[in-house]
């Protein structure tokens, strides 16, 4: 690497960390239901060694019945130990993992290109471009700035692939063991990788080790060990719960085995292909408020020509970069194809890596092709477009998104709990209607563990024997106020002026 490349690499790292840690607690606005559950379970593990239901050091966390994997929760315990029980601590592991993924991608691309004699001289530049693109990627940023397990798993995955490539490059057997350890962690961190990782491992074996070499015994031993370490995960109660909840086939009537045999593969094919549609990648993502910013797709518009050019020129080559990129590209949407809804930005997050590699290959390739006088004009124009679209994204992410999508990120649950805590001394009992907001109990546990409300359904009325008691009735509601003895209506600062919560004195 030249000195210029080293300087640029440091600048890219600085940009990566800034974009992932700047106002991390505030944007996205508030912890989502899943983040609070992760945070609270991490907190109880830290304090008692048990999850929220009292199960000691579990491998699967029951949570809302979705049986969360332990990787992110145990990591968050360390983060809470360091930063305390707050939003920053819950998001820190993901932001750090996102930043490290950028660094891992740089080394992955560089080392892959260094293995190819023809591309050696371009290795540093393509690696740098890939790192820069991932650093500013709306798709990767979105998941790096919130407590998403998939982001931590993606880091383990890319790190594992890089370690394996290093082991081949340096003929270092020890790195294979490290690589497989990192692959094992993906199994324990996010559900999708239970499908993605085995396929990737098979692909990597096919690319690097199918011909006999000195690795055979090491590999067999390593794979047996990996299978043994991963096995307990599959034997746990609820290990398939998440798949049962999200399986793609429920909406199709398949009464017979024959109908299943021809329907399921076509459904999987359609779901798989949907992850490569322009509507998903460029126009609007998957439509979930928590998964992307409005008016900005998962990829920048300006990257499209480079994606096409990069794809065509990369796949015509015979290189390790091509094989690995193709493997990552084809593997990434595999798990998401078996689930619904589809396409799904979160479950297909690994797709961001091969797409970034292809685009960076396209950018460097095209710039190499263009001759000098046109090159300067092209570079100036490109820089203007790139900067404008990046600023447009930042404007939406920091300006509009926190206000428009407040309700996607827990609305004012936190404020609700803090207000109830403030008022508690004036009341004998706090009663919370949790029928509409199933997340209320976990928010109370995370933000207001000094309060132990009574959770009731919407039909609840004050019992006669409690006539003398002064009760604070917390009633979640959208858009309408009640005339009943109103204590307070909380209106969060969002453009729609939704009424989120009502406090009734009864």
């Amino acid at each position: 690497m030249s000195n210029l490349q080293k300087t640029l690499f440091v600048l890219v790292i600085l940009l990566t960390f800034t974009l992932r840690f700047f106002r991390l607690s505030e944007v996205p606005p508030g912890l989502s239901g899943d983040e609070v559950a992760i945070g609270y379970n991490a907190y109880t593990i830290l304090k008692t060694g048990k999850d929220e239901f009292g199960k000691k050091l579990p491998i699967l966390f029951e949570s809302y019945g979705d049986y969360k994997l332990p990787g992110y929760i145990y990591t968050t315990s360390l983060s809470i130990l360091t930063f305390g029980k707050n939003e920053f601590a819950v998001r820190f592991p993901s932001a750090l993992a996102g930043s490290l993924t950028v660094i891992a991608l740089f080394f992955l691309v560089k080392d892959l290109l260094m293995m190819d004699k023809k591309s050696k001289d371009k290795a540093g530049w393509i690696g740098l471009t890939a790192a820069l693109l991932l650093a500013v990627s709306p798709w990767h940023l979105q998941f790096s700035r919130a407590g998403f397990e998939v982001n931590l798993a993606l880091f383990f995955y890319i790190f594992a692939v890089w370690l394996l490539i290093r082991s081949v490059k340096d003929k270092n057997h020890f790195l294979i063991w490290l690589s497989l350890s990192s692959f094992t962690l993906t199994f324990y961190t996010y559900h999708s990788f239970r499908i993605i990782t085995p396929i990737t491992l098979f692909g990597l074996w096919f690319i690097f080790f199918r011909k006999k070499n000195g690795y055979q015994k090491q590999l067999v031993a390593a794979f047996i060990l990996l299978a043994l370490v991963v096995l307990p995960l599959f034997l746990q109660t609820g290990s398939m719960a998440r798949f049962d909840q999200t399986a793609a086939f429920d909406e199709y009537k398949t009464p017979t085995l024959v109908s299943k045999l021809y329907t399921y593969p076509v459904v999987v094919l359609r779901n798989y292909l949907s992850h490569f549609s322009t509507e998903f990648l460029v126009i609007k993502g998957d439509g979930f408020g928590r998964h992307q910013v409005d008016h900005a797709g998962l990829l920048y518009l300006w990257t499209l020509p480079f994606l096409l050019f990069g794809g065509f020129s990369l796949f015509r080559q015979k290189s390790q970069l091509k094989s690995i990129t193709l493997l990552l590209l084809l593997t990434a949407p595999f798990a998401a194809a078996f689930t619904r809804p589809t396409p799904h930005t979160l479950r297909s997050l690994p797709l961001v890596i091969p797409l970034t590699i292809i685009i960076s290959f396209g950018i460097v390739g095209l710039l190499t092709l263009i001759k000098s006088p046109v090159k300067k004009i092209f570079l100036v124009l490109l820089t203007v477009i790139v900067c404008y679209e990046f600023l447009f994204y930042l404007h939406h992410f920091y300006g509009h998104y926190p206000k428009v999508h407040q309700l996607d990120w827990g609305g004012a649950y936190k404020e609700m709990v803090l207000e109830a805590v403030r008022l508690k001394s004036r009341y004998d009992l706090i009663v919370v209607d949790s029928s509409q907001f199933t997340f209320a109990p976990i928010y109370f546990k995370f933000y207001g563990d000094s309060v132990a409300p009574l959770y009731v359904d919407s039909k609840w009325t004050k019992p006669d024997e409690w006539e003398s008691k002064k009760i604070l009735y917390v009633h979640p509601d959208y858009g309408r106020a009640s005339e009943r003895n109103l204590e307070k209506i909380y209106i969060p600062n969002n453009p729609y002026g939704d009424i989120f919560i009502q406090f009734w004195e009864i």
């Binding site: 076509v266 359609r270 292909l273 322009t278 509507e279 460029v282 126009i283 518009l301 404007h395 939406h396």
Partner: protein, 197 residues
């Protein structure tokens, strides 16, 4: 003889896929059409509301030029959406369309490719801006023509010019997948066309 049979099967599969779009015939709007009223609404949405912002930021990020180009570009991208193309010319048609593009570039017949792409560009831009009262069949032929041409070119390049021994088996597999696709999924017209109330 067998090649003719495969051509007929290929054509049938594309026609069957195209036929599902007949749903759009009696409707007045579709996903691909640029509407000035929709544009005006998005300008109002982008420049008003309760989001506090400086006038400079509003002018810089939410101006009519950017909104116009982003809307037209998004509409144009819809034509190259993988699922739209699969639903328009069937799975087998899409596969050979990609192969057609690949072989045109590979054989450096870039002039032919450019002509087809420019035709697509203008035909589809015309669809984006044209009044929806233009006869549906005429409009639909114009939209689907570039895809059909490319897919037929790809099909010819693979089956007749190709050297692979098992190529007809590959074609057969894609034909079967295309038929199953049409059987399993409801006609996709309703996903792309809407009725103006």
């Amino acid at each position: 003889m067998i090649n003719i049979l495969f051509y007929l099967l290929f054509l049938t599969s594309e026609v069957l896929a195209l036929r599902t779009w007949a749903y759009c015939k009696n409707l007045q709007d579709n996903l691909f059409h640029f509407s000035m009223s929709r544009f005006d609404l998005s300008v109002i949405e982008a420049t008003t509301g309760k989001v506090d912002s400086s006038i400079f930021l509003i002018r810089f990020f939410h101006n009519k030029i950017i909104l116009f180009f982003s809307q037209v570009f998004n509409l144009y991208l819809n034509f190259w959406d993988l699922l739209v193309m699969v639903n328009m010319i069937s799975v087998v048609g899409f596969v050979f369309m990609i192969y057609g593009i690949y072989s045109l570039i590979e054989k450096r017949r870039l002039r032919v490719l450019s002509i087809i792409f420019f035709a697509a560009l203008f035909l589809q831009l015309a669809e984006i801006f044209l009044n929806p009262t233009i006869p549906f069949l005429f409009k639909f032929i114009l939209i689907s023509l570039p895809y059909l041409l490319l897919s037929f070119f790809g099909f010819k390049a693979y089956t007749i010019d190709g050297k692979s021994k098992g190529r007809l088996v590959v074609v057969l597999i894609f034909l079967v997948v295309s038929v199953l696709w049409l059987v399993v999924f409801q006609p996709q017209g309703p996903a792309y066309c809407v009725k103006i109330q």
